[in-house]
Symmetry: C2
Subunit: 435 residues, 2 copies
């Protein structure tokens, strides 16, 4: 009988108890696949008394989770506490410094401190694993780092936040507005009481920064992710997009560009128009989906549940099985000292088609003013819709799609219009995902 | 500098030259990810003189590829010769017996001899890898064996043959019949001159048998795969399916069932009706897509190019990188001696809804005859369409969808009708994919 892999589990929320349930349900199978016994030996959480619906008596309890990192009978610590800093980060550092492997589902911590944690892991000859930090149960970290390892990745993009996707696809189905669908999502448990991280794209940006670092072998740079949420998307935008053959999705997208002889990193989370023929257009509800475009593999799509206790536990335990097998790939695909510093790309020259929506007062000359600004900024209009003239004095919606052109032209057009009294609300800009 | 992994490459067709082009294009990157140099040291193919558009002078040439397995300067052999037996199998055995790792894209060989090759690999302490044998560039072997390793797999199914999917989706788009679309596919290079393996489901069955063995930890059993091709699917079937909210796809499906206290294996490749809301319905053209349903992960979808030199080379080199990293998972997810013998499941009790299409002479009483057979076999009809009465004396098409019921009832109904003079062609039966 081979030596067991001995695990300490910090955090017994839904994911932590999910991991315990998974061990109970699938133990025999996962040990056969791991090639050795897997043993939870220690657990820690804030409240020992709470009933979590799982039996904990077989595990040593620690009130101070930091203690577990130092236990000689622990080989690996699973951090499911959450939060980018604070106790989670302290535990992660302690664990790696003690030469023990760390498995985490903590996307915020990896997005902010992934590079320093990877350095600590390398310096102490141990492993840092975070499959569950990106897209829940979808094995996309492994898919990218190992499955697509032979490829230069040209782009990586996808639907990285289930809450936003749930809201956008519910808006699409019902025709209702954002506020209504957010409140429905909150009632149904798809959105939290404070939904900011989800609907403003922060959660997606955490995941995107992690994927970009793996895909391009660069130092993770969460702060450089340009982020725009979905709270300004209206039912009317989704209607206009549909009329033009598109759906609206919150897309995280990363690629690299040579600018001034330097390889620069583009990272953006934004609501985008996605052609109905694109595989991501069919992704609805609280689902995640990631597309990688490799120079040999072509387009690969990974899709599944991006959150939830079962899927996330599945990813956590996949990492544990990898540890037990002795699999030791670098956290960000190449050794940490080889990760390249990539400055953020200047987006002004990026070519693309854009959806623009203006809310304007219904009076003569408004259309002339908008189209003149487009002309002066050298933005070429492909199609334009003024939504059905409403009652007198009410706002009117003008939506347009541009021909392909540089982003800076669109920005320039918006600057030209920024002082205009005709606009009754800030315009909404959404890129059109290029096929 | 670490020791290089030294590779011999057997077979220089499109995939073999694709591997060489990949090494040329991505060498620096793949070596960084592999953590050591990767070096092709020897190559072999049938015709040395042929111009393959790649430079081969840097590699030692062997007329007899079997020799390469014995070379002391070779660590791993990449077999891209093809064919389930013959030279490919001889090379594979020689390689593993020499304690060298084998990487292969040969689905027929793995489907027929995977178990014996895995035993040889284990006995000689070396690795057998075949990511490229299933679904081309999609890392689904790894996704299943490692990414979903924490799960009991409940079902695995998907679109496993690009040629068939190209033909079926072209029939859907154009309304044309099978023969026309096959001939188009042949002209466009999506189907071979002899398309039997693709359109009769044999190629998909090879891949399904491999996936099932990994998913369920059982001994691979290609001969037990029940296979039905797409050549009997007519434009009218696709039209009827569409009217009912379905598309037609060639689906490979495997699961397990307890029957008589024994875990039995169900494996089937058949054209199926797939609800338009199912992710596989959106998969069109020469694409592959695999769905795994795990007890914790839920439904995962892996999609991409199932064939082609670039994608297949991408999968081959991913395996090579794994070898270089020292990754050593068991070929079929658990050690070969733990693989279970699973007898084929009896399908009679399986519950499902079924599409049935009859071609009948247009005369009174035919419908009564068919519906009486359904009643006598206890098949409950959910909907029935008799396609628009054609000119006198011409055949008429009767299509129906049954309510959920056991497969044996449908078989019984067909038996009752088998002698009927009203039927002018064998009926077509397609299961409806359960969501």
């Amino acid at each position: 009988m081979k030596e067991p892999l001995r695990i300490a589990l910090a955090g017994l929320g839904t994911v932590g108890t999910g991991v315990i349930r998974l061990f109970e349900a699938n133990r025999q199978m996962i040990e056969a696949r791991a090639g050795r016994p897997l043993k939870i030996v220690a657990v820690s959480a804030r409240d020992r008394g709470r009933d979590r619906g799982v039996e904990l008596s077989a595990y040593d309890w620690y009130d101070d989770m930091g203690e577990m990192a130092a236990l000689p009978q622990v080989d690996a610590v699973v951090e499911l506490v959450g939060g980018s800093d604070g106790p989670a980060l302290a535990l992660a550092r302690k664990t790696l410094e003690a030469g023990k492997a760390l498995v985490t589902a903590n996307k915020a911590m990896i997005a902010h401190h992934g590079l320093s944690l990877a350095k600590t892991a390398a310096a102490n000859g141990t492993s840092l694993k975070f499959e569950a930090a990106v897209a829940g149960g979808i094995p996309v970290v492994k898919g990218l780092r190992e499955g697509a390892a032979a490829n230069a990745i040209e782009r990586i993009y996808g639907i990285l936040n289930g809450t936003s996707n749930y809201i956008l696809s519910a808006m699409e189905e019902t025709g209702a507005d954002f506020a209504q669908m957010l409140s429905d999502a909150q009632e149904l448990g798809y959105a939290e009481a404070d939904p900011t991280f989800d609907i403003e794209g922060v959660d997606a940006a955490h995941k995107l920064a992690i994927l970009a670092a793996i895909a391009f072998g660069c130092r993770i740079d969460f702060d450089a992710v340009k982020t725009q949420g979905i709270s300004d998307v209206r039912a009317a935008d989704i209607r206009q997009a549909a009329a033009l053959g598109y759906v609206v999705r919150l897309i995280g997208m990363a690629d690299t560009e040579m600018q001034d002889d330097t390889c620069k990193l583009f990272q953006e989370v934004r609501p985008c128009l996605v052609a109905k023929s694109h595989p991501l257009a069919a992704v609805s509800g609280a689902t995640n989906a990631v597309v990688t475009e490799g120079n040999f593999s072509g387009r690969l799509l990974f899709q599944g549940a991006g959150a939830g206790d079962g899927p996330t536990a599945s990813a956590v335990v996949a990492d544990i099985i990898d540890l037990a097998r002795g699999e030791r790939s670098a956290p960000f695909s190449v050794p940490v000292e080889e990760l390249v510093e990539m400055p953020p790309a200047d987006t002004g020259d990026r070519l693309g088609r854009t959806y623009l929506r203006f809310t304007v007062t219904d009076r003569p000359g408004v259309m002339a003013e908008i189209t003149a600004a487009m002309r002066d900024a050298d933005v070429s209009i492909e199609s334009l819709i003024q939504e059905g003239r409403s009652r007198e004095g009410r706002d009117v919606l003008v939506a347009m799609v541009t021909h392909e052109g540089p982003e800076r032209s669109v920005e320039q057009a918006l600057r030209l219009l920024s002082g205009s009294e005709s606009l009754t609300a800030p315009p909404l800009v959404m890129p059109i995902l290029q096929d």
